[in-house]
Symmetry: C2
Subunit: 418 residues, 2 copies
Amino acid sequence: MKIEQYFEQIGQQARAASRHMARATRGDKDRALAAIATAMKQQRDSILAANAKDMAAGKASGLDAALLDRLELTVGRFDDMIEGLEQVAALADPVGEISNLKYRPSGIQIGHMRVPLGVIGIIYESRPNVTIDAAALCLKSGNAAILRGGSEAIHSNRAIAACISEGLIAAGLPGTAVQVIDTTDRAAVGELISRPEYVDVIVPRGGKGLIERISRDARVPVIKHLDGNCHVYIDDQADFDKAMAIAINAKTHRYGTCNTMETLLVAAAIADKILPPLAAVYAEKGVELRGCPASRALVAGMKEASEQDWHEEYLAPILAVKIVAGLDAAMDHIAQYSSAHTESIVTENWTRARRFLAEVDSSSVMVNASTRFADGFEYGLGAEIGISTDKIHARGPVGLEGLTSQKWVVLGDGHVRG
Amino acid sequence: MKIEQYFEQIGQQARAASRHMARATRGDKDRALAAIATAMKQQRDSILAANAKDMAAGKASGLDAALLDRLELTVGRFDDMIEGLEQVAALADPVGEISNLKYRPSGIQIGHMRVPLGVIGIIYESRPNVTIDAAALCLKSGNAAILRGGSEAIHSNRAIAACISEGLIAAGLPGTAVQVIDTTDRAAVGELISRPEYVDVIVPRGGKGLIERISRDARVPVIKHLDGNCHVYIDDQADFDKAMAIAINAKTHRYGTCNTMETLLVAAAIADKILPPLAAVYAEKGVELRGCPASRALVAGMKEASEQDWHEEYLAPILAVKIVAGLDAAMDHIAQYSSAHTESIVTENWTRARRFLAEVDSSSVMVNASTRFADGFEYGLGAEIGISTDKIHARGPVGLEGLTSQKWVVLGDGHVRG
């Protein structure tokens, strides 16, 4: 079958299933999640065997160690998938919530009702656990999903997809509500992102190159995450201990995450007090510092930052450091270089905290907290389909609510417009 | 100056102004709206003279009567623009509203803050009043705007733009917060829709052809309105008088609006009671009916509907009529043919009303009310920048809130992630 025909069938099935899913009750959806977990447990051995096949093929084709690590389904990761299903089942159902229902002078009542988006397309790379996480979130939010995993994970994804369909059907929902594209043909991605009649939104997960390519070519709206070039600004009215704790946690808690601090901004009036002890901790932890001339004057051996460093999302034990005159200069730097992901100010000054919160235009803006908190679990979303760096629809961690939107409902009693 | 350079300058100015606008207080913004109104009143004669110039050029170049009508600034329309400014000033400021601020187990407080989108690009055709309406909504919602009106309205738009800048400056806001693209070069649209570094969202207003073209070519998110193929379904448990009133109002109150009913669905069990008297009223009002075979059997002289009629947005005194078995068939028809703009059910049956509200996936879903209510003013938005038929971000009438989104705010006291 040609890829267009294949996708036509997938698309029609998804669109039809999405109508079913939109009216599924919370009970239906939670039962499906439980049934998927049951099927996964029963098929544990065959899923792990399928994954072993992908691992062997990956090794044979020379996949690098990082990719192989992401591909591998260990017993621990398998259990995490099951636990993820249970967590999503425990979340409140966002669908159908009516808010702000008000009478208008005409006598009609007007309100907002939360509704699924329809069909969500997810494009991701090697991790097979995304298959189950994404399926669970789309299902619970009343959407149908079309999942396109990496070709290196095809056997794992196929085995997991069989469990998902089995669980959906066991709960009386359409087995096609979650479909995994079962071909490694790259043209399938082209179809998925260019058919608004079948797909309402695309969530790409993966490297920046993949996401930029998809955004450029898509004819369907994309909820995307590009860089996480996050900043912490230590104000001259910062509490010393809080500033130390936050600057260390934001950089060194984990290096490879998108909410890790990549540039530290320090107010000039406090720099000589805080930068040297901070630099000592970073040195101890093996973090390389790249600074502006003023920072280098305070810390022996600090490398020189180039213009490019201010743009960089290192995802590594490297930190750019800049001394700024104060709040305005810090916010100017952020406006110029930040990827609008997450920024934090450390200050005891009420007015500056309020200004930072109001004026910094990033998806998460923090006062006296580590950027590492920018995460769906920490925010109480229960789970996240991704972190959006877009400005429309959803910003920051995207959970169930980000997979819905609101329609208007109008209640009348024979009302007509005069 | 080349168009790329020209737009580069416009874009940089808009981006810089957007940071100012984001932190402007409600007082600043309302003062600017008032100052714009004052400037407009003072420049009334020169604006009307500029419009006369456009009208003369339009007549000379053979613009059709409908376009000339939209282009003309009568004294009444001029006063409406002034009134519009006052209405927008009276609206609440959506910016900065913090909602759902909650403590998390980690001790951080997490909430949502409503923030401007940044820079809004508006592309529209002949009506010069859009210049002032769009400017007012963008300004009040804390955004900068780049407006691209039709070349036929360039003198009118230029004169209005001068008043807008004057008012902004008088209120201490950047005069470049609202810029009108002052060239008739069509390449300017290409720049506007393809520079995400300068423009955060595009709102095109105009014919379907324009909007489809812009959506296809845009590299910036688009909030768009395509068709308004709206349906009314008269259930067999409808109240006769309400059904008559709504079906007549939804079709005949105005023919050229996007919330006008274009297809009437009637439950078979009530069709012989309601269709003949309805058809008599439509005939009296000059509405042409195009029906399914069952409808035609009940109403003498009704034309036959083709498959194309079910897709049609007539914007004219024509109505497609179909008899359906009941609620499920009506919702199937809507799912297949509707443009997902506005649909209404007329019924006294509680369960069917609830199902229609929950299951019909349109931007406005109504019970016992005329589709003509789907409008920003009727919904209490005060004004609308347009009506979205998209599924993400904003559905239906888009007012100030639709020109904003929500970022996360995190408040801590030195909190770090463990």
